[in-house]
C-alpha cells in the first residue's frame, strides 16, 4: 500500500500538475514529421497540437497522435473557439475540445485572446478585439464557460496584432492580467507576438514583458515572423514560416529571467521544414531554458 499523499496544490499557471508538461522546449506536431518522430523518438519536452486538426471521427491523424502521445507529454492548443467573440461560444466545438481533453489527457490546454467566428461564419484566423470593460467581462465569461465545461484551467495567449482600436481603454497587459485574476486561467506568453505587436504598434516589447503578470504564465511560444512594410515603417506578419526570428531570442531570455523556466513551444506551421531543422530550434530554446534554470551544460554533465 502506498501511503496517502497530499492532494496537489492548485496553481492556475501550472494546471493539472506542472510535471505533466516539463519546463523544457517542445515542438508543434506536423503530419510531415509523424513517421520520423515515431521511428527516431527525438529528445524533446513535449509536442503541441492544434486541436481542430484532430476533430475527425478517426483516421491517420488520431492514430499517429495516439502513438506519439504514448511517448511524449502533450499540449492541446485550440485555434477556433473564438473566445474573444461577441457571440456565444459554439457548444458543439466545446464538446469536441472536451472529448480531445478526455482522450489524450494533455498537460496543458490553451486558446487565444481573439475571435474567429461571426454570426456562424468561421474566418480561420485570429482576429483582434478592443480592450475595455465590456470586452473584459465577455472574455472572462467565455473562459469561465470553457473551464467549467472542460473541468480544467486553461491558458490564454496574447495575440499578434497589426493595429489597435480607438475603443480600447485598457492596455493589453492589464487586460490579460485582469482576465487571469477574475477567471483563474493561466496565460500563454507568446514572445514573438509581443515583439510583432510592439513593432507594429510602436510600443516597446521590453516594457510589455517587464509589466507582464509572469506569475500566471504556464507556457511560452516562439516562432518566426515574416517582414513586410507599411509606408516605409516595418510591418511584421505572424506567419510561423521560419526559424525563431533573431530579435525574439533576447526577449525570450528577458521573459525567462522574470518567470523562470516554463514549457516553451517552437511554432512552425507553414513551409514546414525537415524535422531536424525544427528540432534544432527546439534544442536552442532548451539551452536557453537551462541557462535560466541556472544550469550550464557543464553543470548538467557534472
Amino acid at each position: 500500500m502506498q501511503p496517502p499523499t497530499m492532494p496537489p496544490i492548485p496553481n492556475p499557471a501550472r494546471p493539472n500538475g506542472h510535471g505533466r508538461v516539463p519546463a523544457r522546449a517542445g515542438a508543434g506536431l506536423k503530419p510531415e514529421h509523424y513517421a520520423e518522430i515515431v521511428e527516431t523518438r527525438p529528445d524533446l519536452g513535449f509536442f503541441e497540437i492544434h486541436a481542430e486538426n484532430y476533430m475527425g471521427a478517426g483516421g491517420p491523424p488520431l492514430a499517429w497522435l495516439t502513438r506519439i502521445r504514448e511517448a511524449y507529454p502533450l499540449s492541446l492548443h485550440g485555434v477556433g473557439l473564438s473566445i474573444g467573440g461577441e457571440g456565444p461560444l459554439d457548444a458543439a466545438h466545446l464538446d469536441r475540445l472536451r472529448e480531445l481533453n478526455r482522450r489524450f489527457e494533455p498537460g496543458l490546454f490553451s486558446e487565444h485572446l481573439a475571435w474567429s467566428t461571426h454570426e456562424g461564419k468561421y474566418f480561420n484566423d485570429l482576429l483582434p478585439l478592443p480592450y475595455n470593460a465590456d470586452t473584459l467581462a465577455r472574455v472572462v465569461m467565455h473562459i469561465d464557460q470553457v473551464q467549467t465545461r472542460l473541468g480544467r484551467t486553461m491558458l490564454l495567449e496574447n495575440p499578434a496584432s497589426y493595429a489597435e482600436f480607438e475603443a480600447s481603454t485598457i492596455s493589453e497587459v492589464d487586460f490579460l492580467a485582469e482576465i487571469a485574476a477574475r477567471s483563474g486561467c493561466g496565460l500563454l506568453l507568446d514572445v514573438s507576438n509581443v515583439y510583432i505587436s510592439g513593432i507594429n504598434n510602436g510600443r516597446d516589447p521590453g516594457a510589455y514583458l517587464d509589466a507582464f503578470p509572469m506569475r500566471h504564465v504556464g507556457e511560452i511560444h516562439l516562432s518566426g515572423y515574416a517582414e513586410d512594410e507599411d509606408g516605409g515603417i516595418p510591418l511584421l506578419i505572424d506567419a510561423h514560416v521560419a526559424r525563431v526570428s533573431d530579435p525574439v531570442w533576447p526577449y525570450y531570455r528577458r521573459a525567462l529571467a522574470r518567470c523562470g523556466p516554463v514549457p516553451t513551444l517552437i511554432e512552425w506551421d507553414n513551409d514546414v521544414p525537415a524535422w531536424a531543422v525544427l528540432h534544432a530550434d527546439v534544442r536552442r530554446a532548451d539551452a536557453v531554458l537551462r541557462e535560466a534554470a541556472g544550469l550550464s551544460d557543464h553543470a548538467r554533465v557534472a
Binding site: 483516421g59 459554439d90 474566418f123 480561420n124 484566423d125 497589426y162 493595429a163 482600436f165 509606408g231
Partner: protein
C-alpha cells in the same frame, strides 16, 4: 447616439463584413502608429483570411489544382471562399460545397469532368477522417456457407465513399496524383469511383459495372441477393462476380450477418 457609435467602433460586425470584401476600406476605429495606414493594416487580416482559406482548399483539392493550374485554381477557390466561408472551425470538413461551385463556375465549363474530380477529392477527405473499423476479409466471409451468401446483410466500412461519374475521374485522379508527367486519359470513359480507407491508407479504385448501385443498395441494409437484384435492374451489365471480389477483398465491409446473428 455618440455612445452607441463609440460602442460600434471596433465591433465585430464591421470588421467581419470587410474581411470578405476585397475592395472595402478598413473599418473605422483602428489605431495605427504615425506613418502607418489603417487600410494597409486591415489588409493583413483580410489577406490572412483569404490565403488561409485558399490554402485549405488547395490542400483538399490538389488534383483539381493540377488540372487547371495554380493561378486558375487559387482565383476560383478565392471566389468560393468569399461566397461560402466555413461554418465550422473544423477545417478538415471545409470545401464540401466546392464541387457544386466548380460545376457552375463559367470559366471552368471547358472541363466538364472538373466538378466530378472535385467530388472524388471530397470523398477522399471524408474517408481520411472517417471513423475507424476493422475491415472484413475473405476469411470472414468464408465462414458463412456459400449457399447462404444471398442472405448476408453487410455493414459497409465507415470510410466507404462512392462517386459516380460519366467521366474518367479515377484515371484522371491517378495520373495527376502519381505521375510526374500525366498520361493521356480518355476522359469520356465513365468511371464510378470507390474510396475506402480500411486501415491508415485510403484507396481509390474503379467499380465494376453496377458496383455503385450494388454497394448503394447494401448500404441501405438489404441482403446481398436483393442488392444484386436492384443493381442488375438498374445496370443491365451488372457483374456479380466482380462485385463480390470487391466486397470480399477491398475492405469495404465492416460487418456481416445473416438474420439477427452478427459475424
Amino acid at each position: 447616439m455618440p455612445a452607441s457609435l463609440e460602442r460600434g467602433a471596433g465591433g465585430e460586425r464591421a470588421f467581419a463584413a470587410r474581411l470578405l470584401d476585397p475592395d472595402c476600406a478598413a473599418p473605422r476605429g483602428l489605431r495605427v502608429p504615425a506613418g502607418g495606414s489603417a487600410d494597409r493594416r486591415f489588409s493583413v487580416y483580410r489577406n490572412n483570411v483569404a490565403v488561409g482559406l485558399v490554402a485549405t482548399l488547395a490542400a483538399r483539392f490538389p488534383v483539381c489544382r493540377r488540372l487547371v493550374g495554380d493561378a486558375f485554381f487559387d482565383a476560383m477557390a478565392s471566389l468560393f471562399a468569399l461566397q461560402s466561408p466555413p461554418r465550422s472551425a473544423v477545417m478538415s470538413a471545409y470545401g464540401e460545397g466546392f464541387p457544386a461551385f466548380v460545376a457552375e463556375f463559367p470559366p471552368a465549363c471547358g472541363l466538364p469532368y472538373l466538378a466530378d474530380v472535385a467530388r472524388l477529392e471530397v470523398a477522399l477527405g471524408r474517408a481520411y477522417h472517417a471513423a475507424d473499423a476493422e475491415p472484413l476479409g475473405p476469411a470472414a466471409f468464408g465462414r458463412f456457407p456459400q449457399g447462404a451468401w444471398g442472405e448476408l446483410v453487410v455493414g459497409l466500412h465507415p470510410s466507404v465513399n462512392l462517386v459516380a461519374s460519366p467521366h474518367a475521374i479515377v484515371s484522371l485522379w491517378e495520373t495527376n496524383t502519381r505521375d510526374a508527367t500525366v498520361r493521356p486519359v480518355a476522359v469520356a470513359q465513365a468511371e464510378d469511383a470507390l474510396v475506402v480507407r480500411p486501415h491508415l491508407a485510403a484507396a481509390v479504385s474503379v467499380l465494376p459495372p453496377g458496383g455503385h448501385a450494388f454497394l448503394s443498395a447494401l448500404a441501405t441494409g438489404v441482403p446481398l441477393a436483393r442488392a444484386a437484384e436492384e443493381a442488375a435492374a438498374r445496370v443491365p451489365a451488372f457483374d456479380l462476380a466482380a462485385n463480390l471480389v470487391i466486397l470480399f477483398r477491398s475492405g469495404v465491409a465492416a460487418t456481416a450477418r445473416i438474420g439477427a446473428a452478427p459475424l
